[in-house]
Symmetry: C2
Subunit: 204 residues, 2 copies
């Protein structure tokens, strides 16, 4: 059985989205500054159907994080924001389980991505994602609220943070509403000019 | 003229103090988990009048950060919390300028530490600290609010963050109330088993 992992870009002030989201910039102002380190990577471009791009330490980290999970779990808000932009061939290429309150029929997309809607909580989503992932990891895609639920339930084994050297000044914080004093163990650190990749085991 | 620098331990959820401060634990619950990486260092123990301790990469980083400033600036709250515990021979051993609203006579302590109370704002504090520091840096000791004032005024050149692998779940955040989108440039990264030392230049 694989691990339960999360992998996410975070600003120096702890945000995973920017302030003042609107229709044009649904993830808030400055979100491109947070994700900038990824855009030119071959490993990012390829699953998004784009050619070319750079191969470097960042792309190795990205590719590894992309390949490790055999299934993903995400929250309904993330799905709602992404559904349009992701189009017919979303970049996951694996089964995705969406935590939601309203039942909905499974969506099967091109390229191996499916969206299955789970209405009975994180434990059930995890059971189904584990079954789909087989020996591979289960990836918790986000948003922050879903990652927090997994941390609070003691279900997250590992988190990799891509610490971007920006202050966004507002948005959604990765770590919030976690009253428990959690201890992490840094298991890997990779630096590149663009970003700092920090991997932690969550000590239970 | 030296740089204006800040150097501070920060939790993974961005806090520099813990939740629920009281008289016993004026910096909040869990603060020892945040500062644990320092306590056994010779470089920490010596200025606090304690013997022995470890010499390692952490102590080199600590010592460098301690030696670089020729004068410090701190907020009134930090001074109020520290004044008792610091005793007759506070650990700074250099002139300290305290931002406050109420005038007070300069306190001259043992070991080279003095506390001068500044009532006319960060610009004035910086002028006086620069004069005292000579060619050395001016260190912004904290708290968060003072560091934020220096960032917002465009007066902070550099910040070193000792990123501790803990979630505190509450307290005072280092980066808050900064609406500006600030860009940082990571200029150094040092890892130790206990903590990750990240140094950034603040891009203006």
């Amino acid at each position: 059985m694989g691990k339960v992992v999360a992998d996410i870009s975070v600003s120096m002030d702890g945000f995973i989205t920017g302030p003042n989201p609107d229709v044009e910039q649904s993830l808030g102002e400055g979100i491109d500054r947070l994700h900038e380190w990824m855009y030119d990577l071959a490993a990012f471009r390829q699953p998004h159907g784009l050619e070319g791009g750079n191969t470097n330490r960042d792309s190795e980290v990205f590719e590894e994080a992309f390949e490790a999970p055999g299934a993903m779990i995400m929250g309904r808000s993330m799905f709602d924001v992404g559904e349009g932009p992701w189009g017919d061939n979303p970049p996951f290429h694996k089964p995705v389980f969406v935590l939601t309150h309203g039942p909905r029929e499974t969506l099967v997309k091109e390229g191996g991505t499916s969206f299955t809607f789970i209405t009975d909580g994180v434990g059930s989503a995890l059971d189904q994602a584990r079954a789909a992932a087989g020996a591979k990891d289960v990836g918790i895609a986000g948003g922050a609220n879903v990652i927090q639920q997994f941390i609070k339930a003691g279900l997250l084994d590992e988190i990799q943070i891509h610490l971007a050297p920006v202050l966004l000044g507002g948005g959604i914080r990765l770590f919030e509403h976690i009253a428990e004093q959690v201890h992490l163990e840094r298991t890997r650190l990779i630096e590149s000019p663009a970003v700092t990749h920090l991997k932690f085991r969550i000590v239970k």
